[in-house]
């Protein structure tokens, strides 16, 4: 997990560096042509990514000590001949390459198989779980983005003062805090001792689905969302701070100062304008961390989201569900990166207009 984080961070830094420091040579591409070639390239990338992800995760599961028959039977007792039939059904003795081709063929047809633990089609599990997770992730993504950006701007303006140090300390502490630990602490303080929020789950226990109110859902969402947001703040706040300090020591801010603009004008007119785009890009690149965080947070709060389903699928050897979630999460992260790329290629006027005018 840690190694993955490190690699991911290097990737992000590399990307940000590429985005904002790379010298843009003039090339004579018209806007439309550019969009087509951009889309083509991304589509190709998506295809190859999915092929690799499918193949690697399938093979990992294939060679792990998972027995699908055992997983399917669970605690039930079955006769020997029944077991043979099940083995036949799950294809235990089919060669792996054939199994992979069968599975991949079904995936292409849109058939993800049936979940072993929920006994319903994988695609339905994912749909239902994603809806809950989507709310959770969207809320915390927005809160962490806005809060992190604001804190970063404040720390950048007040560089070197106690406010800056307090924000920095907060960020470093958070960056070093394991997600599940923070979730447990919040759960203990706010749910167990103070009793402000429910202990877990997405809806109250013992209430029929029709009687669950929006208030119930929001109440169950708050703690997981807060945990996830608090953790997401650190990276974006530190990045915004650094970037703002860099912008505020630039030539153009010096010149604006020489023209009589005051401190606050400088931040509002030039600081935020130049920090916003890279910060938003970074926030989109953080989709993978968001997903990873959601897995842990949902587990601690027993929140019925896709992350919890992933853990359950892993622990209880639900291969079809696990593979389905792997594909969905790969798509999710790819989508985040894609938006970041689109912002860079089509929103930043330095690149957009450069090519339009040439």
């Amino acid at each position: 997990m840690k190694i993955f984080d490190i690699i991911h961070n290097i990737y992000i830094q590399d990307k940000i560096g590429l985005l904002y420091n790379r010298h843009i040579g003039g090339n004579n591409v018209l806007d439309n042509e550019k969009i087509v070639s951009f889309a083509g390239k991304k589509l190709l990338r998506l295809m190859s990514l999915l092929v690799v992800v499918c193949f690697v995760s399938f093979m990992l599961i294939q060679y792990s000590p998972i027995d699908p028959v055992r997983a399917y039977i669970g605690e039930m007792t079955v006769s020997a001949e029944h077991k043979v039939m099940l083995e036949e059904y799950w294809g235990v003795n089919t060669p792996p390459q054939e199994k992979f081709l069968n599975w991949a063929g079904n995936i292409l047809k849109g058939d993800f198989g049936v979940s072993l633990i929920y006994r319903i089609p994988v695609i339905d599990v994912i749909k239902e779980r994603s809806a809950a997770s989507f709310t959770l992730m969207a809320v915390s993504w927005l809160i962490s983005g806005i809060l992190g950006f604001t804190l970063g701007i404040i720390a950048g303006i007040k560089k070197g003062t106690w406010i800056d140090r307090a924000i920095k300390t907060y960020c470093y502490t958070l960056a070093a805090t394991p997600t599940f630990w923070l979730a447990l602490v919040l759960l203990m303080v706010f749910s167990v001792y103070l009793g402000w929020f429910p202990i877990g789950l997405g809806v109250p226990i013992g209430v029929t689905a029709g009687n669950v109110t929006l208030f119930d859902k929001v109440q169950h969402l708050i703690l997981p969302a807060v945990t996830l947001s608090l953790l997401g703040v650190a990276q974006i706040a530190m990045f915004t701070r650094e970037k703002l300090i860099e912008v505020m020591s630039s030539d153009y801010v010096l010149f604006a100062k020489a023209r009589g603009e005051k401190e606050l004008d400088l931040v509002l007119r030039h600081g935020i304008r130049n920090v916003a785009l890279p910060a938003i890009t970074l926030q989109f690149l953080g989709f993978s961390e968001l997903f990873g965080g959601a897995v842990l947070v949902e587990q601690v709060f027993s929140y019925p989201g896709i992350g919890q389903a992933a853990v359950a699928a892993g622990l209880r050897s639900d291969v079809p569900l696990l593979l389905g979630i792997v594909i969905i999460s790969a798509l999710f992260v790819f989508f985040g990166n894609l938006i970041a790329d689109i912002i860079y290629e089509f929103v930043d006027p330095r690149i957009k207009q450069q090519e339009a005018t040439l």
Partner: protein, 325 residues
């Protein structure tokens, strides 16, 4: 009686310098190894005067701290800078508060390159700058007039800095000073790497400003460009001004030039003798007791190594040299 007195002071004002810089020193605090602080002196005992309607060129080689002079006058030095000496503007001392009050209004800076423009802000917004909402319309009109005068097409308004050509950037930067209706304009290296035509154009903008009564200070390393339009030339060397000469002094072979360094500079030009002198400018951390040019001077004597020579008025200019009378 009273009106006469008033006229007198008005006349006095005309001959008085708008900006007087006296014995200005600028140093930076640096942390050397450990916690030891060292002071790095970049400008020492510098004195210049700028008059309304005249152009003063401050000429010196690159990297000698000339830009910092502009920053010192505008009060935009970094926080670790220590400024000593006296700056007077319009007869009154120019304190940091006063600088913050009048910069952008009465004193304008024309910066040297496109990096001084916000890369993500449209050009017209930058030229207009930070104004109150109700004045925006008026300023927009003024900006359009200025752009028209400088032959900047209407579509330039909505461009971003990276879309401007070198010449356009120049004109946009100059516009920022013109729109402020400043009385004192300080141009920092306004002619870097410009072709002959653009160079002359740019210089004319400054000539125009001076003709309209502005005091203009041009900070440059390009002595030829400076000679084309300036009234006076201040020769900047290793953080100080060695001589302030009139433009006429550079005529002929420069016999009227007072300081040995100014002559050396003049002789080093390709169209003159193309002759360089040995040595280099003393580094900022080298401490010299005597004349700062002592090491390289051809006329040095014992006196020159002891104490910095005082300014002397010679032939309508001033010079810091013991051997001139």
């Amino acid at each position: 009686m009273r009106s006469k007195a008033k006229i007198c002071t008005e006349e006095n004002k005309k001959t008085e310098a708008l900006l007087k810089v006296k014995d200005l020193s600028l140093s930076f605090i640096q942390y050397a190894s450990g916690l030891r602080q060292t002071e790095l002196k970049v400008i020492s005992d510098l004195s210049i005067e700028a008059y309304s309607g005249k152009i003063l060129a401050v000429v010196g080689s690159s990297g000698s701290g000339k830009s910092l002079l502009a920053h010192a006058i505008l009060g935009i030095l970094p926080s670790n800078a220590i400024l000593n000496g006296r700056i007077e503007y319009d007869g009154k001392e120019l304190t940091q508060e006063k600088k913050e009050e009048i910069r952008g209004k009465e004193i304008a800076l024309v910066p040297q390159s496109t990096t001084y423009l916000d890369p993500l802000m449209r050009v017209s917004n930058q030229v207009i700058g930070c104004v109150e909402k109700e004045n925006e319309g008026l300023m927009k009109k003024v900006q359009r007039e200025i752009f028209q005068k400088y032959d900047l097409k209407p579509n330039v308004e909505r461009m971003f800095p990276h879309e401007l050509s070198g010449g356009m950037t120049r004109r946009v930067l100059v516009s920022t000073a013109v729109i402020s209706s400043a009385k004192l304009v300080i141009a920092d290296e306004p002619t870097p790497g410009l072709d002959e035509k653009t160079l002359n154009e740019t210089l004319n903008y400054f000539k125009d400003m001076a003709n309209k009564g502005c005091a203009v200070i041009i900070i440059t390393h390009d002595i030829e460009a400076a000679l084309k339009i300036s009234d006076k030339i201040a020769v900047f060397y290793a953080g100080t001004v060695l001589e302030v000469a009139n433009v006429e002094d550079f005529k002929n072979n420069g016999e009227n030039l007072r300081h040995p360094y100014t002559r050396a500079l003049w002789n080093a030009l390709p169209q003159n003798k193309f002759q360089a002198i040995k040595g280099h400018q003393p580094m900022q951390d080298e401490v010299t007791d005597g004349c700062i040019f002592y090491e390289r001077c051809s006329k040095k004597n014992v006196l020159c190594s002891k104490g910095i020579p005082q300014f002397k008025d010679v032939n309508g200019g001033v010079v810091r040299c013991n051997n001139v009378s």
